[in-house]
Structures are given as C-alpha cells and as structure tokens.
C-alpha cells in the first residue's frame, strides 16, 4: 500500500510541477527536467519497494516501477533533444525495446512466482518473512 501511494504521490508531484513549469516565468525548471526528476524519484521508489518487500509479486512490481522510471527518463531525454524534425527517435526506440524486454522478463518472473507458489505454497523467497 505504501508503495502504491508513494508512486501515486510522485506522479501527482510530477504532473503538478510540469504544469507549473509550463509557464514562461520559470525558465530554470523546464518541463523535461521535471520529467527527469520524477523519473529518478520513481527509480528510487521502486528500489525502496524492492528492498523492503518480500512478496514476489511486489518485487516484480517494484522492478517495473524502476523500469518505468528509466523509460520516463529516456522519453524526457528525447524531449530535451528535440530538433526541428521532432523529438529524438533513438531514446524512443530504446524505450520501446526496454519495455518489451521488461515485459518478457516480468511475464517470466510472474510465471516463475506462480510455479513456486504452486509447489511450495509460498509467494516469497524466504519462508517466514511476513512483511508483504
């Protein structure tokens, strides 16, 4: 729950800052910068979740939150590097590739978790660790 609310709050923060940054009075905090900062925050939140939680589902989710952070960062970089012909396509392509890789890894991780659950009845790596 903590994880989800943290993620939600950060998104709110990102959106709010982005809205604030869109106005010309704040040239320092440009919009791509806000996205980048949010991305870093997301990355660290995912890491925090990964460390503190023992449930396998949550572990996979945390890793996806981290991945989301990286992808947001890349998209922000693409926006920063936008030229006359539009945003930089290379980070976009990297994001797409990264998403597919993350999807594959997550699908496998979830399947593995389900398999472990069906054999051992546990959804965590260390039995007895009741912090979910």
């Amino acid at each position: 729950m903590t994880l989800l609310s943290c993620g939600y709050m950060s998104v709110c923060f990102g959106v709010a800052s982005a809205a604030g940054a869109a106005t010309p009075e704040t040239p320092v905090l440009t919009s791509h910068l806000v996205y980048m900062l949010t991305a870093c925050l997301l990355f660290c939140i995912g890491l925090f979740g990964l460390i503190t939680r023992g449930h396998l589902m949550r572990n996979v989710m945390s890793l996806n939150v981290m991945g989301g952070g990286v992808f947001l960062f890349l998209v922000a970089v693409a926006r920063r590097d936008a030229g006359e012909s539009g945003p930089d396509p290379v980070p976009h392509a990297m994001t797409l590739t990264g998403i597919v890789v993350a999807l594959a890894a997550s699908a496998f991780a979830l399947a593995l978790a389900r398999r472990i659950h069906s054999i051992t009845g546990e959804m965590r790596l260390e039995p007895g660790d009741d912090n979910s």
């Binding site: 990355f43 460390i51 012909s85 290379v90 392509a93 590739t97 597919v100 890789v101 979830l110 051992t120």
Partner: protein
C-alpha cells in the same frame, strides 16, 4: 518452543523490519539525491541523434523516425528483443515441464454475453492491429503495438472459451512463435550473402522488406502474448485446489 522463544522471535522480526525500512529509506534517498544532482548537471541539449536520424530518413524506407530506428538504424537491437520474447515463451514452456500447449486446461464454459462480445471485438481488434502495423510507416505504431493488440485478441478468445491457439498443432505454434526471430535471421543471413553489411537494407526495397519483417514479427509477438497468457503455470487445473494439493503433498 517456549513462550520466551516466541516473544524473542517476534521482537527480532519487528526489529528486522524496522532496520530494513530505515536502511532502505536512507539508501534510496541518498541515491535519489545523487540522481537529482546528476540530472541538474546534465548538459542543456539538444544533444542526441534527432538531426542525423532525420537526415537519413529518406534512405530508410519508412517515414517515421522511431520505426526507422527500430527497423533500420538499430534493427539488430530489435532482433535481439524479439529473441528475448521468444526466450520468455521458451522459459515458460520449461516451467510447464513441456514445450507445448497440449495439456492446457480446456477453456472455461462459454458465457453467451462474452461470446457475443468476443465476436464483435475480435474483428475490430484484428483490424486495429493491421492498421497499427501499417501506421508504423509514418506515425507512432508498428509491429509491437500491432502484435500486442492482436495478442490481446488471442487472450480474449481464451477468456471467452473459444478454442484458438490451444487447438492448433504443436509444430504450427512453434513456427508462429519463431517466425519473427527467423525473419530477422533470414534478413541478416541474406544481407551477408548479398555482400551487404549485416542487416543492411538496400534503400530502394527497404520499405517492402521492413513491412514484411514487421508483419512476421507481429505474428510472433501476438502469438507470444497469447501463449504467455495461456501457458501461465497453474493453468492446467484451478490454481487454488492445485496449490492446496501440492502443499499437502509437500508436507507429508
């Protein structure tokens, strides 16, 4: 086990939890600070490859820069990425203890409403997928988007109890799964044999080749997504019962 032991264990667990949160919080915060500082020191840009990519776009056979990067400039990455998807399916097959869908649990009973909805949606989804695939040439879209939509159609068929991939043969499934990877492989070998750089597309025919590769990749991606849903472990029998059985087994 005495009560003292139990109390000690409980206190230990609580202590551990607290330590864990404090340490993780401090660590994540420090890392966040580091990253924020790094971001603030990033050069202003624009820095990337936007201009180069745009300048060569005419020779890539597509009009959309992202598709050009994915399927021409950096097609090698995309190939490996299709390989990752294929690996995910193989890995899930490995988990199931078999490389096919034969013992997938028969689809659940049909729900008339769901069946009707499916009949309505499947053609639409297929059309959308085709559109997305075609769109990739000049706008955001392409094999992955199309493949995922088509895969969703497959998952839908499965949910509604309509036999689909689970009724076609093992060999056919394998071919459908591998065809995307093979398309790139054939392209790579063919370009080498034709005396070009590996995966180099001759500008005149690049568009056709990309469309062909993308179509095949779409098929593979769609099949992969659908199979991932169908072949998830535990799909052989209702998971709750199976888990309980196995747990009982494991204890005895």
């Amino acid at each position: 086990m005495t009560r003292h032991d139990a109390t000690l264990r409980r206190r230990r667990r609580r202590a551990l939890l607290r330590v864990r949160i404090v340490v993780a919080g401090a660590g994540a915060l420090a890392l966040a600070l580091l990253l924020v500082a790094a971001v603030l020191e990033l050069p202003e840009g624009p820095l990337g490859l936007a201009e180069e990519a745009a300048a060569q776009l005419a020779h890539t056979g597509v009009d959309h820069a992202v598709t050009a990067v994915l399927l021409n400039y950096r097609s090698y990455d995309t190939w490996l990425e299709v390989g990752v998807l294929l690996l995910a399916v193989m890995a899930i097959f490995a988990l199931r203890g078999g490389a096919h869908l034969e013992n997938v649990r028969p689809a659940p009973r049909r729900d008339p409403l769901l069946t009707w909805l499916t009949r309505l949606l499947i053609p639409m989804l297929t059309l959308t997928a085709g559109y997305l695939l075609w769109l990739g040439k000049f706008a955001p879209g392409g094999a992955f988007q199309a493949g995922v939509v088509l895969g969703a159609a497959g998952a839908m068929l499965r949910l509604s109890g309509t036999p689909s991939l689970d009724r076609i043969g093992d060999v056919a499934i394998r071919i459908l799964l591998a065809v995307g990877f093979l398309a790139f492989l054939v392209a790579a070998v063919a370009t080498r044999l034709a005396g070009l750089d590996m995966l180099e597309l001759p500008p005149g025919r690049a568009g056709d080749i990309i469309l062909m590769v993308e179509t095949l990749a779409t098929i593979s991606i769609a099949t992969t997504c659908a199979v991932l849903v169908m072949a998830m472990p535990g799909a052989e029998s209702p998971p709750a019962i199976a888990a309980k059985d196995v747990r009982k087994e494991a204890r005895t």
